[in-house]
Symmetry: C2
Subunit: 235 residues, 2 copies
């Protein structure tokens, strides 16, 4: 299978979910998972469906989105290589809370939830890793909620870009490129602002050469200046 060859074997061995496991156990977990190619635009699961698999991404990126009551789609999170997704439902109500779609050609490994639960019982480190990963995401969600209540849209957009940089930044000639393809609407969603405000702010930062926007990809040229904006108290 062509896509398998594009999976960096190191990724599969550096999944945060498997951190701290003896390598024999790690190999066993990997062997019990199912590899699957996800061509661009593949719908991996849908909001409200029974969570039949627990997933981790090995290559590419996945968009987790929800449809609001008015039918509008909201971006919940972007998943990069090495991250788990759709892994909370088998610990809670058994239903996927959101849609997952491959944003580019991607590869995932997934497990039967019963197998993953059995593994967590046998290897408590996997359960501890899972709690830590989910706890980190809870912290981020609470940070976003707090920002919405207290910070200007400009600061929220700066913080959103810095979080994406930490999650999926790759250094290149111009600066640090965010590996996710990003529409301005996505950035507006994550920052909790309007498309209009996000577009205006990003265009202004592009003009000031804080960042370069090209083919739905953002490269942060001046991380220091972005950090300054993110930390700035109310003007």
């Amino acid at each position: 299978m062509a896509a398998r060859t594009s999976v960096d074997p190191r990724t599969i061995r550096t999944l945060a979910l498997l951190a701290g496991l003896p390598s024999a156990t790690r190999e066993e977990v990997i062997a019990s998972g199912r590899l699957r190619e996800l061509p661009h635009d593949t719908r991996i699961f849908g909001q409200g469906e029974r969570a039949g698999r627990a997933h981790a991404l090995l290559a590419g990126c996945v968009r987790i989105s929800q449809v609001g009551s008015d039918g509008e789609e909201i971006l919940v999170r972007l998943i990069g290589a090495g991250e788990i997704f759709g892994c909370v439902p088998f610990l809670t109500d058994g239903l996927y809370p959101a849609d997952a779609t491959a944003m580019v050609d991607s590869v995932e490994i997934s497990w039967d939830p019963a197998d993953l639960l059995a593994l967590m019982r046998r290897q408590s480190q996997v359960a501890i890793n899972m709690a830590g990963i989910i706890g980190k995401r809870l912290g981020e969600a609470q940070e976003r909620l707090r920002e919405l209540a207290t910070q200007s849209a400009e600061r929220r957009i700066a913080r959103t870009l810095l979080r994406l940089l930490e999650q999926a930044g790759c250094r290149d000639d111009e600066g640090v490129r965010i590996a996710f393809p990003l529409r301005r609407k996505d950035i507006a969603d994550i920052a909790g602002t309007t498309l209009h405000t996000a577009s205006r702010t990003l265009a202004e930062w592009d003009r000031r050469r804080l960042l370069v926007s090209r083919n739905q990809h953002l490269t942060i040229v001046s991380e220091a200046e972005l950090r300054r904006i993110a930390e700035r108290t109310a003007d």
Copy 2:
């Protein structure tokens, strides 16, 4: 100690964190924890401090709040009897992300994080329970973020009350009383709206006898009508 007698012994045995454990293990976990009375207004921990203990509440209620960049306090979550709090940091960066304050006379049990981690290693069910509890809170935080992006303030306030009802509702003569003492500002914070809008909406619902507000306590008289408002699509 007076307060200890006010702890319902069933609460300590029905902590979600200890669900599914053999009773001998549950007793061992309880014995390894430290019981502490928390008189009204006790500051249990502070934002940015090293997380020296992992906590669960046995009686009373605790307010988890953060101070925003403008110095204004934001309510993150209310913790009721049987719930854990301040348990994520020892799985992530080791620092409490928020302040915790007893809202009424309360009692907690807390553990040394190293002891709790050792327990999670030994008893994977505790780690699995922890992941499930944190996962449920992540789902709620994401729901709040989605509501902020897509729903009217009125619907968000209705949903906030319904979630508090589920978390801490006690049936009484008038309806279902929310056990937490709630200021209108708290409800505004959780619903992500202004004090003005929350006050106006609650006053209107009080006038319509959907709820009764008395001494910082809310009793929901018509849960069905509140649910209708919460489900209503944009007018």
